[in-house]
């Protein structure tokens, strides 16, 4: 197997992140873990945006990933973190395979609203489920990795961070290959001209379906990692504002590179954390201005700063 420059760069950054984790304070590790886990969910949003669809309901799979990890430990005795994450992805794939049959018939705002509707249905079900803690949710059971149990909270935090970085690396490499592979490029072709794709003998709907299912599994992984990091899941994970946050991060980063969602998620986390810290009553306004600034000055997202630099363009 050969790795290209992007993949090698991603691996080097991932190694640097893991090493950085050993010398960083706990609060920073936690902030980075949540940002990177959310970036995985955003990767799912971006995969769909590349094919011309905007999901306003990616929180659905974020929540499925999180709740599967939580329920696996609490109710089914699945304490191995890797197994629980894999199960979360599997459940998301099954759900996406069912919902995708309907959703991929729709485009534009209809797809967006329908995806949101499914997410809100899950939110409604969870809120009414007393056994799952209703609006409070429930705590995630202590977990192990291949039989090893972290001794302290710090160990646990460090382990989830390392797992998140490694999962991020794996997913980034896979998505990088996916965007250059047949289905990735042809999904972009669907966005550009669905009629031509159809007249090349391909089914745009089934291409979008495959893309939707793949995006769901990636987003569920992000949800599962968030559950491990926070040790708690609640219905807010499926709420529309959570899905909105993923779109916000996707727009902030842009579609230009597989690394963009990771950078955007970290920037988002920093802006939000410091906004809440310094202007607790108006932090949403700060986020609003940030997005406004990005849309006006960097319509292709933060990544366009890097791509301009590479192409020698200056503003």
């Amino acid at each position: 197997m050969r790795f290209d420059k992007t993949e090698i760069s991603l691996a080097l950054v991932a190694i640097a992140c893991v090493l950085f984790g050993f010398v960083s304070p706990g609060w920073l590790i936690f902030l980075l873990t949540i940002a990177l886990a959310k970036a995985l969910v955003v990767q799912g949003v971006v995969m769909q945006m590349r094919s011309g669809l905007v999901s306003f309901g990616q929180g659905l799979f974020y929540c499925i990933g999180g709740y599967t990890v939580g329920m696996g430990g609490q109710f089914f005795g699945i304490h191995d973190a890797i197994a629980a994450l894999a199960l979360g992805m599997a459940v998301a794939i099954v759900v996406a395979m069912i919902l995708g049959l309907l959703l991929t018939r729709y485009r534009d705002i209809f797809f967006a609203m329908l995806s949101l509707a499914f997410s809100m249905i899950l939110f409604g079900i969870l809120v009414k489920s007393q056994g799952l803690g209703s609006t409070d949710g429930f705590n995630v059971h202590n977990w192990t990795v291949f039989g090893w149990a972290p001794d302290t909270g710090a160990d646990s935090q460090q382990t989830v961070f390392t797992m998140t970085v490694l999962a991020g690396l794996l997913i980034a490499v896979l998505i990088h290959r996916y965007t250059k592979a047949g289905i990735g490029v042809i999904c972009e072709a669907v966005r550009e001209n669905e009629v031509r794709v159809e007249y090349l003998g391909l089914s745009p709907r089934w291409l979008l379906y495959g893309n939707y299912v793949a995006a769901a599994s990636v987003s569920a992984l992000g949800g599962g990692l968030t559950a491990l990091a926070t040790g708690h899941v609640d219905p807010e994970m499926a709420y529309w504002t959570t899905s909105g946050e993923f779109i916000f991060i996707a727009l902030l980063g842009g579609l230009g590179h597989v690394a963009a969602p990771f950078i955007a998620a970290i920037v988002f986390s920093v802006v939000r954390t410091y906004s809440i810290e310094f202007v607790p009553n108006t932090w949403q306004m700060i986020l609003g201005f940030t997005l406004l600034g990005v849309i006006v000055f960097l319509p292709k997202g933060l990544w366009s700063l890097v791509s301009r630099e590479k192409s020698g363009e200056r503003t």
Partner: protein
Amino acid sequence: MTTILETRSLNKEFGAVIAAKDLNVKVAKGEVVGVIGSNGAGKTTFINMVTGYLKPTRGEILFNGKSILGHSPRAITRAGMARSFQVAQLFPDMSVIDNLIVALAAAESPRPSFLSPLRSDARIARAEEILAEFGIENYQNSKVTAVPQGARKLVDIAMALIGNPQMLLLDEPTSGVSMDEKTGLMDTVMNAVRQHGVTVLFVEHDMDVVERYVSRVLAFYSGEIIADGKPAAVLADNRVRDLVTGHRPTHKKGNGAS
């Protein structure tokens, strides 16, 4: 000769408007058929019905003796009938060569790979050959929106031919192309079509192009076929002259005729 395409009593109604009325057409393998008619005569509606874009109100469509009525455009394309469009249907954010590479990948398999790169050496080499065959190699790395209309039309037709269709339907291949470019474009297209042994049916407004390249003409008027036969006979037909072409001077048939 074997019939490749047959329509039986094909009708299309849009509410009270009859866009196609009892269209009975048989096209033999290897024929080059021109479709003429004024705007709104039903030419594009006919192509759209045959290629699955529009569902006929009534009638039957047979391709190689098998019904393709109600089949999706992709199923019809896979069965061996490709088409180009009045306005070239391309992927505007991609380069010319990437448009062809997408078409090559689509022709290879209806299920694109999840992880193998689309731009393989073999596909790039094949796309370069096709660009050379169509004389548009200079535009290889240009975005399709940055190339002239004639070149865009050629890319559109090249993409349709990549799947090795048995039949090709061209919807106004020379529309929007300058008078100077028309003959060059059609010569290129017809050479490629002959090399691939493809049956062709094309809609055209330019009667010089029709006379030069087709072996048979279908004249449409108000959703009906009012004449069907050799170009000279159809273009000399009084109804065709009155309703379709107007009274124009006759030209000698050029050397590009099949």
